[in-house]
Symmetry: C2
Subunit: 395 residues, 2 copies
């Protein structure tokens, strides 16, 4: 269910950044648009489709912005996220994850029919025979109950290319699933899902190259086996912001799922950049205020209820002329700030600070809305409020 | 702004636990009520007030349940949390934190007058002269603008008793703040705020005893200095679930702020229990489902968008006859499950599992509602849906 945007938030539009209450999630729209344009250029140059992961921004408005820039649609991880996207007018959605519960699959089937009615397309991943059977059953049940035109859902077979999470072992198991999918008229075998999440965060560019080289071996081997059975593998989809240049150059992947490039975060910034990778900028910030000041530290009002710390603490983003500070864990509601080595400057009570979250996806998920600012964090104005449609969309 | 409860959630009431979609935050109401009753008994026995921290459950319904059981009111950390409590009919609220922004203090002043009209009382903490001056200004401005009866806000001086976060150094600085508070007719010096957050999670009972002994020294010393100026210190308030037996036995503290005892979490369960502490039970669970199964692991649909991992990963709560499993980090949307040493049993696709979150407070904050179950997790029924009124109440 959507949380209504508060009047306080709506009234912010047109006001200066100073008017934004803290803590708040703020998007530097200029930086975000540059990131988007860099990604679109990159995909064009490599003649590859891109389908950004909307689990990151969870916003149908940003999904549409991405599609206007050339994305073919979006990925999501959850049925409820797909529902939020479709409700927001995004009709090309891929649930790049396994769904097993029959009541959830009934929702998937309803969505597949809803987007088909809008000339859109729903896709989903599977990694088990049960998953295929239950999905086909749900599609048939929906048709039997509701009548109307039959929709077909695109089904990708997920192979585990090193993440050690979902996905079948590359090779024969994928062939068996492709055969199984093709037995059902309501399902279309669409290709292979191959995402290596951990490879995104390998720090060295060479390490990532080695990891993705093995991913590419796995997908080529699996594709070969599937195609040897006379089943075409139309598309191999995967990649994240950390490795996208490698999948794009591989010749094997036809679609990039990277999502974080839009906002970037402190964790991705710790990667050694591959020279071929577009220079994405930080575009997501938590605005915070100093509420207490000790002798050797200050305390701000943003703790880990306002930003996720699974991939490390946020970095303090010093604006021009401001003291460099380090953020230490202050618990759920507070951040502890200390000067970096060689400095003793501490911000006074009342001072505004900007944090770069450690990990953008779960940070966005903590907020009902993002405040979109144009003209910079120092003197910019609020241009729009971006609703996080799929915040808390867990099921 | 409140998120409306979905019809899907409302329809759950009266149904069996099997009907709860995953992932979902589930409260074992029987265990919760036993925890509440143990806390009420403990406070009665020690003749001490209790004011549980509602930053944990963020629910006005649970706050009222606590007050029915004997709590004098609740604590919160944020103005927006206080607003959510008051909107839900909880009129005795203490913002145990510093508020500095004038527009937030205007909201605090409005709340102070709103609860006074309901024969309630608002309280707040300060640790700076600016904080006192700005608060008094906001109270006066509110009165000047709105007229009506003048409300008085209770003001606690926060001292830093070892947490290294907010609070003045114990001693003279607190005396100066007490004097300053007493200059303003709209403020009442209510006593000292003294909370040692880190001490709650010291694993050994003896370590916690040593830490709280120093806390008690600090508060007694500060109280002595304040009272030497002829200013009575009516109340010293603090303590958490990890240390409450120590503050209760100290003779110095008059009020306990512990909140987690209601739900408990995996992190608090790692503490060596003080023999004097009531035996609180786990009452908060994430219901999850196995969606993928590998050779040596299974994957469930609950990652750290459904439970906070700042205090460690969740524990798998095996029901009677179920395999013991260990939860490993699978990212934002997945959990990886492996058998514990000596076992090879893995749960099949579709199986329901129950997780005990590492840290209850930020876990609750990820959910719009908690599903309250009576009769146990195996065969119980949904008794009520508990709205998380202050979810995302950051400002």
């Amino acid at each position: 269910m959507k949380t209504p945007l508060s009047d306080t938030l709506k009234r912010l539009v047109g006001q200066g950044v100073d008017a934004i209450d803290t803590p708040a999630l703020v998007v530097d729209l200029d930086a975000m648009r540059r990131n988007l344009s860099r990604m679109a250029d990159f995909a064009r140059k490599h003649d590859i489709r891109w389908r950004p992961h909307a689990k990151m921004h969870k916003s149908s408005a940003l999904a549409k912005l991405q599609m206007q820039a050339g994305a073919v649609g979006v990925c999501v991880q959850k049925t409820a996220e797909a529902e939020a996207m479709v409700a927001g007018g995004v009709y090309n959605v891929y649930i790049s994850n396994e769904v097993i519960a029959p009541h959830k699959l009934a929702r998937v089937a309803a969505l597949a029919h809803a987007v088909a009615a809008e000339n859109g397309q729903l896709a989903i991943a599977v990694d088990s025979m049960e998953g295929v059977t239950l999905l086909a059953q749900a599609m048939n049940d929906h048709r039997a109950a509701k009548g109307g035109a039959a929709a077909v859902i695109d089904v990708f077979v997920e192979i585990d290319v090193g993440q050690g999470r979902c996905g079948v072992t590359p090779g024969r198991a994928a062939v068996a699933l492709a055969h199984e999918i093709r037995k059902h008229a309501a399902l279309r075998f669409a290709g292979l899902q191959a995402y290596h999440g951990r490879a995104q965060h390998l720090r060295g560019a060479q390490e990532r190259r080695e990891a993705i080289a093995m991913v590419v071996q796995d997908v080529l081997y699996t594709r070969k086996l599937v195609e040897a059975e006379g089943i075409p593998v139309e598309l191999i989809t995967g990649a994240g912001t950390g490795s996208l240049v490698l999948e794009a150059a591989s010749g094997a992947f036809g679609e990039l799922q990277a999502g974080s490039f839009m906002f970037m975060d402190a964790d991705y910034a710790r990667n050694e950049r591959d020279p071929a990778q577009p220079q994405f900028e930080h575009a997501l910030f938590v605005k915070t205020q100093v509420i207490s000041s000790g002798v050797q530290h200050a305390v701000c009002d943003a703790g880990h209820k306002s930003h996720a710390i699974d991939s490390g603490l946020p970095r303090v983003h010093a604006l021009e002329g401001e003291a460099e500070l380090e953020y230490f864990n202050g618990g759920d509601e507070h951040g502890i700030l200390k000067p970096v080595a060689g400095s003793t400057r501490l911000p006074p009570i009342g001072r505004t600070l900007w944090l770069i979250p450690g990990h953008c996806d779960p940070t966005v998920n903590l907020h009902d809305a993002m405040v979109g600012v144009a003209g910079g964090l120092k003197a910019g104005k609020v241009e729009r409020i971006i609703r996080v449609d799929a915040r808390g969309a867990l099921t």
